[in-house]
């Protein structure tokens, strides 16, 4: 209680922006630089390898040839059609499958009766790879878009359902009790506390489902269609246009990469309190 010392002074802040963290910042900058060089290095090596004559250039075309094929693909106007056809399938499938998964996950997670009714069925169906459904989907839906949608929805649904189900069961009991004590009615409890409490799990499930939806898209388009990126890859393969095949693969990789990144950024914003 004695006032032996004077009021503590604040430490002096450096104005030159240097502190002990500067060294680690330098290391980080180096890493970024190396990271930026990674792709060009890889592409350069590929170009050299395929032009060296050691491999068959028709089967293993250099990046310049691939780029030319992609340019041609874009210029012909087909790329836009393929891209939008594929994106439409993926997004509708993702939204429908995701919404169903969240809805049923909340129901099975929250109500034991619903869980007893549905969970055994879901657990049996879930491990079947969506690709295995291609034959039956063709029988049921022919080459229609409904069949494609079915496959993507199927792939997305189970992942989202399971993670939502687990998320709901892992909602902090303390939060629920606190909400109960505050007089939160059942409906609000589900809509607010349970849904938001499970959100971190749901978001992880949805993110996994992003890549699953692309993976089922491949199966869906290989099953026969008239436009789409994977469809284009298949056509190019039949015509021995290896450059176009590789361009298609690169496009597919790029799109799903962007989708994943966008989703990750979105997810971070959705569950910011974590």
């Amino acid at each position: 209680m004695q006032d032996g010392t004077s009021a503590p002074q604040k430490i002096a802040l450096r104005t030159d922006g240097r502190n002990r963290r500067t060294d680690s910042a330098r290391l980080r900058r180096l890493n970024i630089l190396v990271g930026a060089l990674s792709l060009p290095l890889f592409v350069g090596l590929w170009e050299l390898a395929s032009r060296s004559g050691a491999v068959n250039m028709v089967l293993f075309p250099p990046p310049t040839v691939v780029a030319a094929a992609v340019l041609e693909w874009i210029r012909s106007g087909q790329f836009l059609g393929d891209l939008s056809a594929s994106l439409l399938r993926v997004t509708t499938g993702f939204i429908v499958g995701g919404a169903l998964g969240i809805l049923l996950g909340i129901l099975t997670g929250q109500f034991p009766v619903v869980s007893s009714l549905l969970s055994p069925l879901f657990h049996i169906l879930r491990p079947i790879p969506p690709i295995a459904f291609v034959p039956i989907v063709i029988l049921w839906f022919g080459l229609s878009e409904a069949g494609k949608l079915f496959l993507v929805v199927w792939g997305v649904f189970f992942t989202v359902w399971l993670s939502t189900h687990i998320g709901v069961q892992k909602v902090d009991r303390g939060l629920i009790r606190a909400a109960l004590m505050l007089g939160t009615p059942r409906r609000q409890m589900l809509q607010e506390i349970v849904l938001l409490g499970a959100l971190p799990y749901i978001v992880v499930g949805l993110r996994t489902a992003v890549s699953i939806s692309f993976y089922t898209l491949v199966a869906a388009e290989l099953a026969g269609t008239f436009a789409g990126i994977v469809y284009r890859i298949e056509i190019a393969q039949q015509n021995m246009q290896t450059g176009q095949v590789m361009g298609g693969l690169a496009a597919l990789g790029l799109i799903s990469f962007i989708a994943d990144r966008l989703f990750a950024a979105l997810a971070e914003r959705t569950v910011w309190w974590r």
Partner: protein, 286 residues
Amino acid sequence: MSGSRSIVKLALASPPVSVESARTQPAIQVSNLSIVFDTKRGQTIAVDRVSFDVAPGEFVCIVGPSGCGKSTVLNTIAGLEVPFEGDILVEGSPVYAPRPDVGMVFQQPHLFPWKSVRRNIAHGPRMHGKSKADANAIADDLIAMIGLKRFADAYPNTLSGGMQQRVAIARALANQPRVLLMDEPFGALDAQTRAVMQDNLLELRDRIKATIVFVTHDIDEAIVLADRVLIMSAGPGRILRDVAVKLPRPRSSSIMVEPTYLSLKKDCLDVIRAEGLRAFNQSDAS
């Protein structure tokens, strides 16, 4: 709403209740309460025939060793746990489920992490049909009361443990409960913060006039806060002693050096020590 409830109460009270007895009706009546849990290894008796009353406006502390069933008793009064046997009446009516006139503060703050301090506190009033503006007004009053004006729009993960617990208390008070149950609310705090929080609570209590049941295993905390201290035995929990704390109010934690305080504490510690020895010998024998 309170009007209709009092009509029902009058209609149910068959022998005419005198004004005197209505005034002295306990806020909480626990009679012969036993609670049994089903576990994998059979049934455990958590609480064994506990009875006590709490008068309106009284501040009662329950102390006892870890695992003796303090939380269980409190949860049952709150309506979160179902009694195996016995009855609980709050304000004269039986408890079946959480009720708006009973508030609870848990050992952990359990704030909604996606809500700001204001919206956490406004949650209860919102759930009871108050408009957003009214609920926020209630919240802002309480925020001023707990001294967190600067943090009204902050989110729980940016608050210290003590601040979070103050918000949790304010959140429970926002519904203006007649009975406030507190389960070791300061148990996770350091000694300094805890002393500050105890003083805060005593101050707050003078303003809200709620009946408070406060669980702790810190005998000092119990004597500083309470009008009465109930000492529980090691599990299965029973009430060993009911100690009246006749220390003057307003109090603060500085009371802990007074001779009357110390002799009270000695009495309590004697009971606890005897019980500890008994429990130890018993576990040795079995």
